[in-house]
Symmetry: C2
Subunit: 400 residues, 2 copies
């Protein structure tokens, strides 16, 4: 087989991260170096930009510009929450074929892998040779077949640094503190709060993940036990915690409050961008354990995926390498693939990038293995050992 | 005059910062170097530890331990929100005199300066020679006679980095975003969000400070104007914003919700540790400008004063130097003083530490000068020039 001659397009989709632009830089520079494609288009706001022809020229970017972009949080091409169906993808295909685009690179989560798959199938049906590649991105770390995903390490570093500092604050002025962390179905990011633990008594005492049922009575008993013993209690809670019926506590609250909930194009209930869950849990603790208790709640919100000064070095490197690996997969004559990250060694920590068929990653969600969850309110040492190299060195602290 | 021979005590009070331990290290090492005092006691949880005799020995700390502590967020001795009256201070004085303590170093805000003043007066009335020094600390930057205060620069850096990243996130997925920032009476920290502005369209479009009356109709008009023009809107709001009657919006909400508000020992209404204000403003925008708008609110909470990986280098240096300067003031035979920071030059940025009488700083609050506030919803270039050297270099970003 010979590689089809034509142009390339790159887009970024879903929630941005601090390293998704590093993946973009990786794809662009690898195409420039290899001469894989003629023009290199960037699509503004993902599928929407492809549909409406809002493209920009990435081929002219020099190495200095690419390096700056690789160090910039957010999705610089713009992102989208649109979930294209087959009809939408057929329209995109028309735009792509009009511009003689033969290489399609889509940086995003499992829904983006699915969009990639549909567009690939639509073009195959039309007998048009399009090579479609998915470059993983998600702070949720929830893509199957991946040891971890670009974006997770940096968000996990933010969460660990936040819990480290916040628990030192809580040691100074003791009380009960709730920190609400992103994660709809997968608790990896909330679990990363455990990395804040040091010999100085920092980090969370209790960790609640969406993989376990959140039982309010059990929660109150846990908090009471820790607070009675320690005189203070740090709690890390995933925004995705849900009751035994599978209803998220946030959805329950939204329905109580307004009778309606906000959903995105994927049918997901809006969880982030509100302090409601933390405030509810704080109120609950005061009601059940004493109205005079010092109870505070913070919701980390968008900072954990966008903070401009807290990036894991290995995460940034891997995000860029994932982008480069997607171009290499194209050069290696893959018709389409998702570029997964596999860990090849723990000591020293090394990884490789393995192309797998798009449908093996698309729409599937990985969650924390049960063996990494302890007593429904903590994580195991195995998880911590797994996460450490992804986050990298954390601040070294002292105490008196 | 000769310096009294005896021991020293050091304590930390009020809300911790990421550099308050640098001030502690500065005081300890300067006493060690100078031999000012015999024993160096640390009081656990500030005045409470002094009252109850919960002390620790700081004299034996070596330079390596002090350096680690100087790089540790939070108040490692423990803090307190107690506001001692004269009777409380007399009891503390008894404890101090029993231990032959002649040098008293108190690291905190304007209430701490006042405690320092009362204890100084009580000991003078008793004819006991005690030298009392206040080392400034507050992320609010609200101490009079100071160009700025240790703790502010690092918190301001956190806010600037947060707004930079968050606005890049908002550019990628456009909407209206509210970020609630600490500051009861002084808006300096919220104003620091303006440092996130770059040529790439980052940073806040609107900034609301407690120095201006917060008018809801005016707020909605501002948001509508920006959103209509830009298709998105980033808003930085101080937690201390209040209506024309001087009632904080948070207090108004708490009273609506539960009929009661939480107050600290100083009579202040509890503002932080809840997402209520941000959620209220988000609801308001949806009600008035359209229920389908993408509106999100984050409250930075305790992260902005404790985050373990975002420290201004000049802030950390100055915090430590302030502690050392307090010991120097004692060596220079001052009876008591607050160590203020004065800026001696803008280019290059330099400061000096000037001891002033305690009563000149105690209980007084500095707010943003009116000349630095623009149209009730922004800050001037003069403020940005003032704040830049306190924060130090920010991430350099790119865009396409």
């Amino acid at each position: 087989m010979t590689l089809p001659a034509g142009n390339a397009i790159i887009a970024q989709s879903g929630g941005p991260t601090v390293v998704i632009n590093a993946s973009l830089a990786g794809v662009v520079e690898a195409i420039q170096e290899s001469g894989l494609a003629g023009s290199i288009f960037g699509a503004r706001h993902a599928v929407r930009g492809m549909l409406e022809g809002h493209l920009c020229d990435l081929g002219q970017l020099d190495q200095d510009s690419l390096n700056k972009i690789a160090h910039t949080p957010g999705a610089t091409l713009g992102s989208s929450r649109d979930k294209p169906d087959e009809d939408y993808c057929r329209k995109i295909f028309e735009q792509l074929s009009t511009r003689d685009i033969r290489y399609f690179f889509y940086i995003g989560g499992n829904d983006s892998a699915d969009t990639c798959r549909i567009i690939s199938e639509v073009s195959q049906d039309a007998g048009y040779e399009l090579r479609a590649f998915h470059v993983p991105k998600t702070i949720d770390n929830d893509l199957v077949l991946n040891d971890h995903t670009p974006g997770f390490g940096s968000a996990a570093k933010f969460v660990a640094c936040a819990l480290m500092g916040d628990s030192l604050d809580n040691k100074a002025l003791p009380g009960i503190k709730i920190d609400v962390i992103m994660g709809r179905h997968a608790g990896f990011l909330t679990a990363a709060s455990a990395l804040a633990r040091t010999e100085h008594g920092t980090g969370p005492n209790l960790i609640y993940l969406p993989e376990s049922i959140f039982d309010i009575d059990r929660f109150i008993t846990d908090v009471d036990r820790v607070y009675s013993k320690e005189g203070r209690c740090m709690i890390a809670v995933s925004e995705g915690i849900h009751n035994a019926e599978g209803t998220s506590i946030t959805q329950m609250l939204a329905e109580q409050l307004s009778g309606s909930v906000e959903r995105d194009a994927h049918g997901n209930v809006q969880l982030s961008g509100s302090g409601a869950l933390g405030d509810y849990l704080a109120r609950l603790i005061r009601e059940r354990l004493g109205s005079k208790l010092r109870v505070r709640a913070d919701t980390f919100g968008y900072l954990q995926r966008s903070f401009a000064d807290c990036v894991s070095a290995s995460d940034r490197t891997e995000a860029r390498e994932s982008g480069r690996a997607a171009v290499q997969a194209a050069l290696d004559d893959h018709i389409g693939a998702s570029l997964t990250i596999r860990r090849t060694s723990d000591h020293p920590y090394t990884v490789e990038y393995v192309p797998v068929p798009l449908q093996e990653v698309a729409r599937k969600t990985k969650v924390m293995p049960a063996s990494w969850i302890k007593d429904g309110c903590d994580v195991t040492e195995d998880f911590i050992e797994y996460a450490k190299p992804l986050v990298g060195p954390l601040p070294v602290i002292g105490s008196i």
